[in-house]
């Protein structure tokens, strides 16, 4: 099911489907590794939230969170 990060709970694991945001913000996220197929885990839900992506821990504010569409198994 396709969701964005704000609807995930702490501990949820999801696969990135696509990044849709104002272009340069989206490019920045994609450059950091938020690309189709990347696995992420929500370490702390909320605003901002903390996600783990390929071993890196990243803090994400509201706009960035809702611009990452993920697929939850």
């Amino acid at each position: 099911m396709l969701k964005t990060i704000p609807s995930l709970q702490t501990g949820d694991v999801a696969t990135v489907e696509r990044v849709s945001a104002l272009r340069n913000a989206a490019k920045r996220l994609a450059d950091m590794g938020f690309v189709r197929g990347a696995q992420l885990e929500v370490v702390r839900a909320g605003t901002p939230c903390i996600v783990r992506l390929e071993g890196a821990t990243v803090g994400l504010g509201t706009a960035h969170q809702s611009s990452i569409e993920v697929f939850v198994a």
Binding site: D31, G61, H64
Partner: protein
């Protein structure tokens, strides 16, 4: 940009799969003439400049310090304001010196902040005064390889020699990740050197690899982009090579890709500045074709590169154990908790401020006494005159008044460096993002604002990490509202003089401490609406979303902390030595000239009159003697001299007791002591003969002479100041400051404190006829402020006036260094002028309100 060498190897233009050694693409005629001829002949290519770069938190600076040690210097990139660190590195057995350029951390060549833009500038060879690198060292975090390889692949495409420094291999191993160095090297086609920068492991291997890098040919398959992207990129690259002289095909490729994928971004702005808006049309067309072919501009680069990286990762990384991010996670469960985390943050901040004020105090006193001593020495050794006054009151007092704050800045930066290096600062920014969001800012503004409590200058410099221009400006504009350490002396002086030390809250805290605390809150309280207003008016824009990596916690490296503190200290001293120095001289000149001779004559007359009166009194005393003593010999007469000694010893013991017990002017103990001394003198007078009486006459006449001479000196310096340009300005603005409860002297002091707030104390000292050697604990100045009177006899100062002055200083922007830093950072006078204007207006209005409210209720 052309570099040094031709390998003669054929180049496969435009083929993204094969990565040829560069250098051979340049036509000979565009080689710059200044390059040493040897590098053209010599098959062993010499390395002159090396750039170190990598993702944030990969230990670049630690590596930089490990290689260069003290042989480094920090400056700003001209015009741009990103910190520039260049170090030199001499090889053991070689005369060759190599410049090492430490570049800011970045995730991608796509530049979204000032820091990142400078990386591209240097790599593309466009930064003035920075040597174009011959070799790029990319520092890669072994535990976070995939993300780090993204930037690495971008750099490989530049076609310059690259060495990969695989850092923190020890941490990766302990968290169960094994990286096959050989396999990684062959996948990337470059030398990979495993290092542990904090333990200086692998540094020598890295140095050798750097030297060997330009001579290594490499062919490696690099990430492949979809056909539509490739076509447009190659087409645009052809245009770029045409418009830019000396641009290699490979650099053009790299630039073209970023140009296409980042509409309106840094590269596009640069290009349009250079080639005019027509080029933007070409970009738009090409982007439209790419989008039509199904490529997502934002995602295509990430997808292509990460797909390639995925393939490399499976060959290179083996998981030997469980992922051990547990400890960092457990710590974060507390430190990033919305409630517990904030409590810890407040505790850390409280400790930090406590340390800033307590650890620094002894050093500050030492510096202060040193400058007072130097100033005194100058006054005593140099003949009086403009030069002596310029050095003692202008230069030494001005620069010294600022350097006093160096210890506080060092302590604060020690804390900031430790917190940053261990990874905590990112968590603090994360925690406060929600709160900063209310001001329309992100958590990234927190660190600059925190620094501003010590000094707004480093705070303003720290805004460089904020990638959004508007957020950066708002942060910069409100940073000077945080109560910096330079305001403290003003607070200490006026609170000590006018606020009673009454205990409140059941004796837990004194009224003085509460006043001090309130003054700190005034700044913060005003900064909040100011930020909101700025975000809604001049710097309108959406609230940016937070995006920040939270690095794994680690032990801070002493070297990195040391260099950070050292650099800040150095930068502060340089600014004190230049701007503040210059402004101090200007203010001194305004306060010294015109220095008319008639003032001197008038006071010379006063001194002469005092001398005449003394001579007369002594002559009268001498006349009472039967053994005729001449007036000028009377003090040497044996019985007079012994009586004088006795009187002097009574006075001396009174002074000693007052000093020992630190008694205030009107304290009952002091009055009692005075009465006792008077009693002893009276009994001496009544029991002694006429000689003793004569001795008292001489003694009193001498005391009177001393007092009158000192009065003449004070009145002279006071008159000079009142008649000086500065004094005239003060009297001119008096009507404006009278509603605040101030007289012209306070107004003058405020004008004089434009270069730096703390100057106000020295100026008040001069203005209240005390000479300039006053500091905030000087009881003399405190007393003098209390006893200062208006012409009609009312006291100048009362609680309301003191509060009004303090509130003014809490909010005003009387700090040349802050304004200069702002100018440096924004490359315009617009923002410093706006800041000065809005803060002065705010300060005025707030002081007006404070004075009127306080005089009604207190």
């Amino acid at each position: 940009m052309p570099r040094r060498v031709f390998s003669g190897r054929p180049v496969l233009l435009g083929d993204p799969l094969v990565h040829p050694v560069r250098f051979s693409v340049l036509p000979v005629n565009i080689l710059p003439m200044s390059k040493p001829a040897t590098s053209l002949r010599d098959p062993d290519i010499q390395v002159h400049a090396v750039a170190i770069l990598g993702n944030p938190n990969t230990g670049k600076s630690t590596l930089f310090n490990a290689i260069t040690g003290f042989r480094q210097h920090v400056g700003n990139y001209p015009g741009v304001t990103v910190e520039r660190r260049i170090g030199r590195w001499r090889l053991e057995d070689d005369e060759l010196e190599i410049d090492l350029v430490d570049l800011p951390g970045t995730y991608s060549l796509a530049a979204s902040s000032r820091d990142e833009a400078i990386v591209s500038e240097v790599l593309l060879g466009r930064a003035a005064n920075v040597p174009s690198p011959d070799v790029i060292v990319v520092v890669v975090d072994a535990a976070n390889l995939a993300r780090n390889l993204f930037l690495t692949t971008q750099l490989l495409e530049l076609g310059m020699p690259v060495v990969v420094a695989l850092n923190m291999v020890d941490l990766a191993e302990s968290s169960g990740l094994h990286v096959d160095v050989e396999a990684l090297g062959s996948a990337l086609g470059v030398t990979v050197v495993p290092i542990v920068a904090t333990k200086r492991e692998g540094i020598d291997d890295l140095k050798h690899a750097i030297l060997a890098a330009p001579n290594q040919s490499r062919t490696a398959a690099l990430p492949e982009f979809p056909t539509c992207v490739r076509e447009e990129r190659d087409g645009l690259a052809t245009t770029l090579v045409g418009v830019r002289s000396g641009c290699t095909r490979q650099i053009a490729h790299v630039e073209a890709l970023q140009l296409l994928l980042d509409p309106g971004g840094y590269y596009e702005q640069r290009l349009v500045e250079q080639c005019g808006p027509s080029i933007a049309d070409e970009l738009t067309e090409r982007r439209a074709r790419m989008t039509a072919a199904g490529a997502s501009l934002a995602e295509v680069e990430g997808e292509s590169r990460y797909a390639w990286i995925e393939g490399v990762m499976t060959r290179v990384v083996t998981r030997t154990g469980e992922n051990d991010t547990d400890l960092s996670d457990r710590v974060d469960r507390v430190l990033t908790h919305p409630v517990a985390g904030l409590v810890v943050l407040l505790a850390i901040m409280a400790t930090c401020f406590q340390a800033v004020y307590t650890w620094a105090a002894p050093l500050m006193n030492a510096i202060d006494s040193l400058f007072i001593a130097v100033s005194g020495w100058v006054t005593h050794t140099m003949p009086p005159g403009p030069l002596e006054s310029l050095i003692a009151n202008g230069v030494v007092a001005g620069v010294g008044g600022v350097l006093v704050f160096l210890p506080q800045i060092l302590v604060l930066f020690f804390f900031i460096a430790v917190l940053e290096d261990c990874g905590y600062m990112a968590r603090a920014a994360f925690l406060l993002d929600r709160w900063m969001g209310m001001l329309g800012l992100t958590g990234k503004s927190f660190i600059p604002l925190l620094s501003s409590f010590a000094c707004a200058v480093p705070g303003i410099m720290a805004t460089r990490t904020i990638d959004n221009r508007r957020d950066r400006l708002v942060t910069m504009l409100i940073a000077p509202l945080m109560s910096c350490s330079a305001r403290l002396p003003v607070y200490v002086l006026l609170i000590g003089a006018f606020i009673p030390a009454t205990p409140v809250l059941g004796g837990f805290i004194s009224l003085q401490a509460i006043t001090l605390l309130c003054l700190y809150f005034v700044g913060v309280g005003v900064a909040i609406p100011v930020a909101v207003v700025l975000k809604k008016t001049v710097l309108k824009g959406e609230t940016q979303s937070f995006l920040m990596e939270l690095p794994t916690y680690k032990r801070p490296s002493p070297g990195t902390v040391f260099f950070r503190v050292y650099e800040q200290g150095r930068e502060f001293c340089v600014s004190a030595g230049t701007i503040i120095f210059a402004v101090a001289i200007v203010i001194w000149a305004l306060g010294y000239y015109p220095h008319s001779a008639s003032v001197a004559q008038q006071h010379e007359a006063m001194r002469a009159a005092a001398q005449v009166d003394y001579d007369h009194a002594v002559a009268v005393a001498a006349a009472t003697f039967d053994d005729s003593v001449s007036a000028d010999q009377i003090e040497l007469h044996p019985s007079i001299a012994s009586a004088l000694t006795a009187i002097e010893s009574i006075e001396q013991s009174f002074r000693d007791q007052v000093a020992d017990r630190n008694l205030e002017e009107d304290s009952p103990e002091r009055v009692a002591l005075r009465r006792e001394a008077d009693g002893r003198e009276a009994s001496m007078r009544s029991s002694g003969g006429p000689k003793v009486v004569a001795a008292f006459v001489v003694y009193d006449a001498r005391r009177l002479l001393e007092t009158r001479l000192a009065d003449a000196d004070r009145s002279e310096s006071g008159t000079y100041l009142r008649e000086s340009f500065l004094g005239r300005m003060g009297r001119f603005i008096e009507p404006a400051v009278r509603p605040l409860g101030w007289d012209w002297r306070i107004g003058t002091a405020v004008i004089a404190s434009f270069p730096a707030r703390e100057v106000v104390i020295a100026t008040m000292g001069t203005i209240y006829n005390l000479g300039a050697d006053q500091d905030e604990t000087s009881t003399g100045l405190r007393e003098k402020l209390r006893s200062a009177r208006h012409a009609d006899g009312r006291p100048v100062f009362n609680v309301a006036v003191a509060l009004s002055v303090m509130v003014f200083f809490a909010l005003c922007c009387q700090c040349a260094a802050t304004l200069a830093a702002m100018h440096r950072e924004t490359r315009s006078w617009r923002w410093p002028l706006l800041t000065f204007t809005y803060m002065t207006l705010l300060a005025y209005v707030a002081a007006l309100i404070t004075y009127n409210v306080a005089s009604r209720f207190i």
